[in-house]
Structures are given as C-alpha cells and as structure tokens.
C-alpha cells in the first residue's frame, strides 16, 4: 500500500519530541524501500492508482501544513495544484530541461500562495477559509479559462521524458517526492519555525506578544503550502499526460479540506490516509455497491465526528490513548515553552 512510506514513526502527532538530524534518515530509507517493494510487486494498473495516490497525498500534505500546523484554513489548495500543473506544462513547452520543470513550477506557485494568503493578515478562521474560496472561484472562472495560459477548453499536454516514461520509473519518482515532502514537513514542525507556527495557531496575540512576526510567518506558510500543492499538481500533470482546465475546481478543495479535517488536521499521516481512502479504497470495491458508499461515509463522518472534535478521528484516538497517561496539556505552559524555544 502507498501508506507504507509514512507509517514509519516520524509522522506522529503534534506533541512528539524534537527530532535530531539522524532521525530523518530512517523514514527516508524506509519510505524508499517500501516504494521499491511496491513497484516490484503490483500490476501496472495498480501502479497507476498508487502513483495517483502518492500525488494526491503530496497535495493533501499542503493542507496539513497550512491548516494543521499554522491554523490557516484555505479552500484554494487545488487552485494552487492547478497553477503548478499549468506552469509545469508551460515550462516544458518552453523547452526547460525536465529536471528543472517540476521544482521551478512548484516554486513559481509560491507568489500565488502569497497573494491568496494576503487576507490572512486581516482575518482568520472561517472567514479566511471562505475568502480563499472566493479566490479559488476567481481562478476557476477567470485564470483557468484564460486561453494563453491553459489552452482552454482543451488543456495542455505534459509528456514525460524517456527516462521516466515507464510507469515503474514514474511511480518511484513520485514516491521519492512524497517521502521528501513528508520528511521535510515533519522536520519543519519541530523546527523553530514550526514552533512559531504552532504559537500562531494556538494564540495569535500571544505569538505576537512574544515577538513572532505573524504576518511574515503566515505568508511564508501560504507560500510553502502553495508550492507543495503546486508540486502535487505538476506531478499530476505528468502522471496523466496532460492538464485539463476543469480538473482543479474549488469544490475539490472544499472536499479535500473536509476529508483531511475528518481524519485529523494536525497529523501529517492524514494526507496519506485520505489519499488512500479517496483513490485506493474505491478501486478495491470497484464494481460493487460499496464504491458508492465512500462519499456517504465521509459525509456521515463529517456530521458525526468533526462537529464534535477539533482534531478529527486521529485526534479522538490520540485522546483515548493519552487520557490515562497524562493530564490535558496546559495552554499557558505550552506558550511559555514556545517562548523559550522560539528565541
């Protein structure tokens, strides 16, 4: 299963201890080994499904970063992915060498993230989410229908170079990116920047009071998250051989945020669980009625779980596990710790 790379221990809950440099290597190695094993074992059809799953997991991890780590909800994540896909296709058209295409496309989405994130300097929470939805709708209607960028309505092609042509090679390529993104995000969470982000999420005024530049941090988070989503979009374009202007509509962003919130926004592994749930599970039940129930289960889960628990299903499980061991953590004490560590 594509879940393997992330089930290696570093991607646990928000309260884990600091990682050392060496600890990043173990999950990296495990992830790559798991990807190699999968590539050797599954049929080409499943390889394509798992490639798509890994691509989606990258995009969903951008939601975990922005909303789970920094507390800034965004409903424009698929819009960022769309920009990444179109930028990648355009860069390829402009004869940029392939190894540069994907990273450059991803980085090029960062300014888009900053623009969409600007309202976050004034508003937060629910209203921020709905403002980004407005931006996403704007992109749907205006940017992605703009012929010079997207060749609307036909879209653009994105053909992989010879060395990545085989499905196995591309799966390994995507899996490598996924592992890299997850390892980097896990490390960011426990870095000074990650703690500043956590401070903003827990208590924005408190964070400002201890000298965190909340505006810069929020825009950095939006830029990083947009780049990761854009990376997912670029990888998606090369997975399916092209990019369609209608593939990135705002309803997808809404559904994806909801599903990640259902599983657990603060948990990096949510991205892999959700991608698996969305792409692998329906394939397993393909042809039976159970495939249609997938979305309904998500709907019921949303109704019954996240209206009642901030951190979703994983948060509920974590609460069950830690309830016996330790008292609930003390917000004041936590801010104090961040203060000390952020300096």
């Amino acid at each position: 299963m594509s879940g393997a790379p992330a089930e290696t221990g570093t991607f646990g809950g928000p309260e884990r201890a600091t990682t050392s440099a060496g600890r990043a290597l173990a999950p990296l190695a495990t992830g790559i080994a798991a990807a190699l094993l999968i590539a050797a074992l599954v049929t080409p059809y499943w390889l394509f499904i798992l490639t798509s799953t890994a691509v989606l997991a990258i995009t969903l991890s951008s939601i975990v970063l922005l909303t789970g780590f920094v507390g800034q909800p965004s409903l424009a994540q698929m819009t960022f992915a769309g920009f990444g896909a179109f930028f990648a296709a355009k860069l390829l058209e402009a004869d940029l060498p392939f190894p540069l295409v994907i990273p450059v496309a991803a980085v090029a989405v960062a300014p888009v993230g900053v623009v969409v994130g600007l309202p976050a300097l004034r508003i937060g929470g629910l209203h921020l989410a709905l403002t980004t939805l407005g931006a996403a709708l704007f992109a749907d209607r205006v940017v992605f229908t703009w012929k010079p960028l997207t060749n609307y309505p036909n879209g653009l092609t994105a053909v992989r170079p010879g060395w990545l042509e085989s499905d196995v090679a591309y799966f390994l390529f995507v899996a490598g990116w996924l592992v890299l993104v997850l390892v980097l995000l896990a490390r960011v969470r426990h870095s000074r920047r990650g703690r500043r982000w956590r401070a903003i999420m827990d208590n924005e005024r408190g964070a400002r009071a201890i000298g965190v530049d909340t505006a810069a941090e929020k825009l950095t988070a939006f830029a990083t998250s947009a780049s990761i989503a854009g990376l997912g979009g670029a990888l998606y374009a090369f997975a399916v051989g092209g990019v369609n202007p209608l593939s990135f509509n705002m309803f997808l962003s809404l559904n994806y945020l909801a599903i990640v919130a259902l599983v657990g926004l603060p948990y990096l592994i949510s991205s892999v669980i959700c991608a698996t749930w969305l792409l692998v599970v329906p394939e397993i039940f393909r042809g039976s009625d159970a495939a249609n129930l997938n979305l309904l289960v998500v709907g019921l889960g949303l109704i019954l779980v996240i209206g009642r628990h901030r951190d979703g299903v994983l948060g509920m499980l974590a609460d069950r596990l830690t309830a016996r061991r330790s008292p609930p953590d003390n917000a004041e004490q936590r801010v104090g710790t961040i203060d000390a560590e952020a300096r």
Binding site: I123, H127, V142, A258, G299
Partner: protein
C-alpha cells in the same frame, strides 16, 4: 458597458439574480447568528425543498405544494440544527462548518436515491423541475421587458426581508433569537430555551433556502444541490459585507453583486478581458482587506 439602451434590462436581470443571493444570505445570517457556522448545506436544503415542491406540484395545486416543500426543507433544517448543536463546544467553528459540508454530501446522496441522479455532480436527472411561476413575458416598464418569474423573485425577496425585520422586532421568538445571538448564557439565565431557539433559526433558514431555490429555478439550467451551492459564494459575500448582522445591507449588497455581475458579463467592450467574470470576487477580497480587521476582531472574540 453594454449598449446603453440595454443597460436597464441587464440591471433588472442582475437584480433578480442578486435577490437570490440576498435570500440565501438571509439564511446564512440566521445560521451564523444561531450557531456561528457558515451553512454550506444551504444549497442542498434549498434543492431538497425545491424537489419536494416539484414532485408534489405534479398532483396538487402549486401553493400547497410550495408549503409542502418549505415544510420539508424546514424539517431538514431542524434535524441539521439539532445534530450540529450537540457537542459543538468541543469543536472549532471551521470544523463545524465543514460538518455542514457533510450534510451537503448526505443530502446530495439521499436526493440522488430519492429523485434519481444525473451523475456524480449531484444534479438530478429527468426534466427540469416544474416552475412555481413561469418565465414568460409579463409587462414592460420603459425599455425593459419583465417576466413573471423576475417580478416574483423581486417581490418575494422584498416580502421575506420585511417579514424578517418584523419577526426580529416584534415577535417573542424573533426577540429571543436576537438575545441568543448576542449572548447565549444571559439568554439562558433569563429563561429562554436556547436549544429551541437555535433549532428554530435553522428551520427558518430551511424555509428561506427553499423559497430561494423555488423562485430561482426558472433562471438556472438546473437547480440541484451543486448549482445552488455554487451561488452560495456571492450570498456569503453579501452576508459578510452586511457584517453577518444587518439584513438591509445584506439585501442591498446581494442585489448590487448581482447587478455588477450582470453588467460585467454582458459588456461587449470587456468581453475579451478575462477579469470580467471575476470582478465581484476581487471586490470581496478588497473589502475584506480594507474592512476585515473589524470582522477579524469579532471572529476572535467569538472563537474565545
């Protein structure tokens, strides 16, 4: 700008669409004041009422059919309000808003089973639902030809606005609703049954959503949950600029957004400028950046 002689008709067409935004925005304000969520299921609730109306209208007169549709949407609102209110204090406003998305998914799924599905988009199959009032020529004012459906939309919006203003000023339930919105704890101490008031607000939102869906259906290609949810963004913008409080400002903004959209989309001089369809959203973002701090402060207070 479009040809000058056509401007009045575009203004009217925009005002009609804007009335739809205003109606949905009223319902959003009710939901927000009661439960502090943006109700993403509103389009689903409205579509549900519309389809119940359309089925009922096949074998009964239109007026009782509309009442039946409104009752169905109101009952749905009662269920959603009751479930959403339970355990709400352990979650965040964002999560509870996403939970209303769960309701939208569930409503869409149930409607696909009950009314037949035209595909994954959640739109219903078969013929378009029967209209309460047909979109046929009514009369002419100056250069503008009005249809009955347009007149009905404008009149209904005005009636709903006035009814709500009277309701909040002069009825026990309306005043209790305002009290709960301002301070639930104080309201409870004063003997107001807060849970009942909250559910009532959701029922009202359901009724209004149903009215909005029924009267907008002649103007949109299909009035399923997905289409109506797509119109929710503009409604939200209107509600937001009314600071999720003032019904007058909400109504005026909703209509203004509709008119602006209509003028921008129809203007030949701008037809090659891709910005035209997105102008209203730029306006919203601009408003938030200029005036958002106020809202932000309010939201922070509410989050606490």
């Amino acid at each position: 700008m479009p040809e000058l002689s056509l401007v009045p008709s575009y203004v009217v067409a925009g005002a009609v669409l804007g009335s739809m935004y205003a109606l949905m925005a009223f319902a959003l304000v009710l939901n927000y004041r009661a439960t502090r969520v943006i109700n993403l299921a509103l389009g689903g609730m409205g579509a549900f009422g519309l389809y119940v109306f359309a089925r009922a209208a096949e074998w009964m007169p239109r007026v009782p059919a509309l009442l039946l549709g409104m009752m169905a949407a109101g009952a749905l609102g009662a269920v959603i309000g009751t479930v959403s209110d339970a355990g709400a204090e352990r979650s965040s406003a964002l999560n509870r808003t996403l939970a209303t998305l769960g309701w939208l998914i569930a409503i869409t799924g149930v409607m696909a089973v009950v009314f037949g599905s035209g595909g994954a988009g959640g739109e219903m199959g078969g013929d378009r639902p029967k209209a309460f009032i047909d979109n046929t020529y009514a009369f002419r004012i100056g250069d503008v030809n009005l249809t009955w459906a347009q007149v009905a939309m404008l009149v209904v919006t005005a009636v709903v606005l006035v009814t709500m203003l009277v309701f909040f000023r002069s009825t026990r339930l309306g005043v209790a609703m305002r009290a709960v919105a301002e301070n639930p704890t104080a309201a409870r101490i004063l003997g107001i049954r807060v849970a009942v008031v909250i559910v009532s607000a959701w029922v009202l939102a359901g009724l209004i959503a149903c009215i909005a869906a029924v009267f907008v259906s002649p103007f949109v290609p299909s009035a399923g949950p997905t289409t109506l949810t797509g119109l929710l963004i503009q409604a939200y913008a209107a509600a937001l600029i009314g600071r999720l409080r003032s019904l007058w400002i909400t109504a005026a903004t909703g209509i203004a957004i509709g008119v602006a959209e209509s003028l921008f989309i129809s203007a030949p001089a701008l037809s090659n400028v891709p910005i035209r369809a997105g102008f209203p959203f730029l306006a919203i973002v601009g408003f938030l950046v200029l005036r958002g701090r106020e809202l932000g402060a309010e939201a922070e207070l509410e989050a606490a």
